[in-house]
Symmetry: C2
Subunit: 114 residues, 2 copies
């Protein structure tokens, strides 16, 4: 995804990307997910973006993709230990945001009113 000044920034962008954040979160508290379930969970994500996001996170070693060779196809996505580490931080951040959301909303109203 776009410019890569340094490897760290690139990884940061994968992890904090719009859908990356949500995928890691879902995998964090859901253990194992199928493609379609994940899609429903995230709401309004297109197939293309979900696939792209999962591939990027799989490539980074954050997500494990388990294919069961049956018909119809059955694929399970889980966090790797590495992905768990990243997700930990993301979930902590999101919890903080949820806890402080009222304060932020107030700040916004103050800003818009002045």
């Amino acid at each position: 995804m776009q410019v890569t000044i340094c490897p760290e920034r690139a990884i940061m962008e994968h992890v904090t990307s719009k859908w990356g954040v949500l995928v890691l979160q879902a995998l964090f508290d859901g253990a194992s997910w199928r493609f379609s379930d994940l899609r429903r969970e995230l709401e309004v994500v297109s197939e293309k973006m979900l696939t792209q996001t999962l591939r990027t996170l799989e490539r980074d070693g954050f997500v494990h993709r388990e294919v069961h060779p049956v018909i119809p196809p059955h694929v399970e996505y889980t966090l790797t230990p590495l992905g768990k580490g990243a997700a930990d931080h993301l979930v902590a951040l999101f919890s903080w945001i949820a806890a402080n959301q009222p304060e932020v909303t107030q700040a916004q109203e103050r800003y818009d009113g002045s």
Copy 2:
């Protein structure tokens, strides 16, 4: 910035946006910054994007904008206590990524090679 399913997601997107991450980080370990210095620090950010990012973070109550009415203009940006809280998490995440970057890079090479 774009679709807002819920307030939390919107705030998350501000904080984890490409330039939001970098601005919060810089403010975190630099105390106070002038516009131009910040621009130099982040490298290759356009004036427009830096302004836009700072405004969004200011509106959210994360960043304080101090204008000194002199000529030429002098403006200082600092983190608010609220912004400090968000930046804490971001910095923790980035440290984790820096520490685990080698492992991620290895995973990428494995993925690309197979």
